[in-house]
Amino acid sequence: MPNATLDCPEFEADLSALLDGELAPERAAAVRLHASGCAPCRDQLARFERLAGVLASAPSPSVAASLFARLEARIAMASASDTGVREAAPAPAPGRAWLRRAATAVAAAAAGVALYLAIASREPAPRADEPFPRQIARRPEPAASVPAPGDLAALPDEDLGIALELETVEDFEVIANLELLELLLAAEAG
């Protein structure tokens, strides 16, 4: 019988790699030989094998059919944002930076609508026992905080300044979700 005190820490550390087929052939043979005569290591290897069976047999989640549609919506948003940046790119001259930012904002505004659609499509059907109605799905003006392309000039100066500061779709996601956050907070408070 192997000397458990001296040999086992060395062999025991390789039991997992043995199970995973990650040991060189000579080392794998040595560890197997050791385990065949060492009850603690043999038992540990058996426990590892049973655990591997449990991990492998655990149910896997199924991919929701809507997941790809939601991804497509996000890609559409990203593409709209990228297009906006590219189209504004020829005007990087000093003093014209506002044009690029405005173009990005306009593209992101379109993306905001796509985001709204993506969010709305994720809303499950309301249940009768819901504590409050799902107001988001019934909002008449999707992503109302996001200015429509033609509305930028109509914004008050302070709002225009904020709109032009928004560089990324993620910024618009935050804005588009503010209403959702406010509604949820109001519902919680109520």
């Binding site: 550390a13 039991l15 997992s16 790699a17 995973d20 990650e22 540990q44 426990r47 590892f48 049973r50 655990l51 591997a52 449990v54 991990l55 492998a56 047999s57 655990a58 149910p59 896997s60 989640p61 199924s62 991919v63 929701a64 997941l67 790809f68 939601r70 991804l71 996000r74 890609i75 990203a78």
Partner: protein, 185 residues
Amino acid sequence: MDVPDEDAQLMLAFCAGDRSAFDALFRRWAAPLLRYLERMLRDTAAAEDLVQEVYLRVYRARERYQPQARFSTWLYRIATNLALNELRRPRRREAHASLDGPDAPALAGDGPAPEAALAARRLAERVALELARLPERQRAALCLSAVEGLSYAEVAAALEISESAVKALVHRARTTLVAHFEDTV
């Protein structure tokens, strides 16, 4: 990397403008990614969000992609980085086992489940819970190796650590788990 693997070839086709190749990559890898991310986060909705984020990054990488490793290793690296970031978010929701989730115990009305199947299901639930309590990198290393079937070299590439570190992480994770299941595993 001499010859790109089949998935890398699909990605190269996508880079060349074949959009159907991107769809094919989604069909091939969305389910394994979702399984991995759900085990990492124990939150199906968050895992689905991150699957989308992974593919969004793949989409955005189409103009600069170079097949330097297996495509799946690259995917898992993106997924792992996103999952670790998600787990470190300060206001991340506590992961709770959802009664609607795929690991939920059988509820009354589903019909009688065979005892052995029920016992196996409960054991799988316990393992999933204990898995979620492991340190993040141990969990990632074990899931990638023992569930997703990546080699230690691939796990090392995905986690951006050495192979010997992967070996140690996987071994520690297994040792911790079996110690918690002394009675059943």
